[in-house]
Each structure stands twice: as C-alpha cells, then as structure tokens.
C-alpha cells in the first residue's frame, strides 16, 4: 500500500501539472480526469474506499461531464484546433499505471496505510447521525446552485431572444411604415382632386 500511495501521488502531481500547463482546453480537462483518478487511488491507499468510489463517480463522472458539456456548448474547439495528434498518449499511460496499481491493491488485499480501513458503513452512520444537519444543508446548497445555474444560463438566452425579436419587430415596423406613407399621400391627393371637382 505504501508503494501504491507514492506512485499514485506522483501520477497526481504530474497530471495536475499537465492540467495547468496545457494550452488546449480539452487536453487540460483530459489530464484533470487523470488527476482525479489518481487522487481516488490515493484515497483507496489511505483506507477510504467509499470516498475513492465517490471521487470517481461524482468528480470524474458528473463534474467532468459538466465541464465537457460547457466546452461543447461554448464551442471552444473552434478556437483552439488540435495541434498535438498524440494527445491521448500521456493520459493513457498515466491511467494505465493507476489501473495496474488498483488491480494489484485489490488482488493482494494489503493493509491500509492509516492502519484501519474506514468503510462505507461507518461513514454512513456518521453522515446520518451527528452530521444529518450538514447533509440537509448540502442538499439545499445543491438545489440553490441548480436553480441559480439555470437562471443565469437561461437569462442569457432570454435576453438574446428578446434582442432578436426586438430587431425583427423594428424591421417589420420599418417595412410597414415605408409603403404606408405613399398610400397616405395618394389618398390625400385623391381627396384633394375630389374637392377640386
């Protein structure tokens, strides 16, 4: 487990350095996934398997998916074309090291670094015992963030649509008033001619 911890720590530091130094946004996010995996392996080596699983599911799964959706929505790849063809090679090697470590750790059943392994049962008892108020507050925070994110992102679209419809209306009214003026003038001349007659 000690070697597992140190190898995962080196992988975490290397991949985090790559996150900070990459210029291509998608490459940086790819290395960020590797960094989160490495920290998950560190958690596993420290005797916290539940948190290691959550790190993979929530961080590397949900939050990174959010990042990738934002990148796709913003269409950033159009600005930064892929220059490095072998971009997948670095993350793939680092993840292969982590995978070998995890397989080794699972098959050998070695002792956790902290001495005792704190499993999901103990965490759940603490979470829904003394910390239940914190769980409720966290759920309220997530709900508020969800509504807030929807509000911020949707207001942008509403304003865009409002600006577009206002331009369309302006164009329409401009198009309507221009032919209306000669009609009015023609009517006036007509009525003037009738008056003369």
């Amino acid at each position: 487990m000690t070697a597992m911890f140190y190898i995962a720590a080196v992988v975490a530091v290397l991949s985090t350095l790559m996150v900070v130094t990459r210029h291509n946004l998608v490459h940086a996010l790819l290395y960020l996934v590797v960094s989160l995996f490495a920290v998950a392996v560190v958690f596993y080596a420290l005797g916290a398997p539940f948190v290691a699983a959550l790190e993979v599911i929530v961080y590397a799964g949900a939050i990174m998916m959010l990042f990738l959706f934002a990148v796709m929505l913003l269409n950033v790849s159009a600005e930064s074309p892929i220059r490095m063809r072998r971009a997948w090679l670095g993350p793939a090697i680092l993840v292969a090291v982590l995978l070998a470590e995890v397989i080794y750790g699972i098959t050998r059943q070695s002792q956790a670094l902290g001495g005792v392994e704190v499993g999901p049962q103990a965490v759940s008892k603490a979470l829904y015992g003394p910390y239940v108020l914190g769980v409720e507050l966290a759920s309220m925070l997530l709900l508020a963030a969800l509504i807030g994110a929807r509000h911020i992102a949707a207001r942008a679209r509403d304003e865009e649509e409002a600006a577009e419809s206002m331009e369309r209306r302006r164009a329409k009214t401009a198009g309507r008033t221009r032919p209306a003026e000669p009609d009015l003038a023609a009517q006036q001349t007509l009525s003037a001619e009738e008056g003369d007659a």
């Binding site: 350095l17 996010l29 420290l46 948190v51 959010l66 966290a138 759920s139 929807r150 911020i152 942008a156």
Partner: protein, 102 residues
C-alpha cells in the same frame, strides 16, 4: 509508519493545492481557472481524508462529502457564468472583462 504517511499525504495535498493556485494565478482562460479551483478543493478534501484516516475516524470522509457537494454547486454556477461571459463578450479570456460597463 502511520504518522509518516499522514505527513506525506498532507504534503501531497499541499503540492496539489499549490499547483492549482499557481494555475489560477497564471492562466487566463475561464474554464481552466474553474478547473484549477476544482484541483484546490480536491486537495483540501484530500487533507480531510488523510487526517480522518490517520485517526481511524469517519469524520474526515464526511467532510470530504461536504466539500464534494460544494464543488459541484460551485462548478455548476461557475460554468453557467462562463456561458454568459462567452455570450456577452465573445471570448473566454478574463482579461477581456477588465472594463465595467454598467
């Protein structure tokens, strides 16, 4: 043995936090800055879990769960703001937002 491992885990957390902080200060892309904040929060959670593992208690992992929820909330709002930023300024460079225009 266990105390040495706690020290080293805390050193790892400090290194990750420092890398994230350096990235936050040097990078100017909004999305990469959000990713750096994620790295820093992750390092803080790593310190919690390492301390909890040192004493064999579940409290460290519980605190990590709260950090996780906070990171998810922060990144949701942050990415929504990034979309808004992009729509109004047509870029993701935060130096383009150095003028206050009401």
């Amino acid at each position: 043995m266990a105390s040495v491992s706690l020290d080293h885990a805390l050193v790892l957390a400090a290194i990750l936090f420092a890398i994230g902080f350096a990235g936050l200060l040097t990078r100017r892309n909004l999305i990469v800055m959000l990713a750096c904040i994620e790295i820093m929060l992750n390092a803080a959670g790593l310190a919690f879990v390492a301390a909890g593992a040192r004493w064999g208690q579940a409290d460290g992992q519980v605190m990590f769960l709260f950090v996780l929820a906070m990171a998810a909330a922060e990144v949701a709002v942050g990415l929504a703001l990034a979309i808004r930023f992009r729509q109004s300024l047509k870029s993701l460079d935060i130096d383009d937002a150095d003028e206050m225009k009401g």
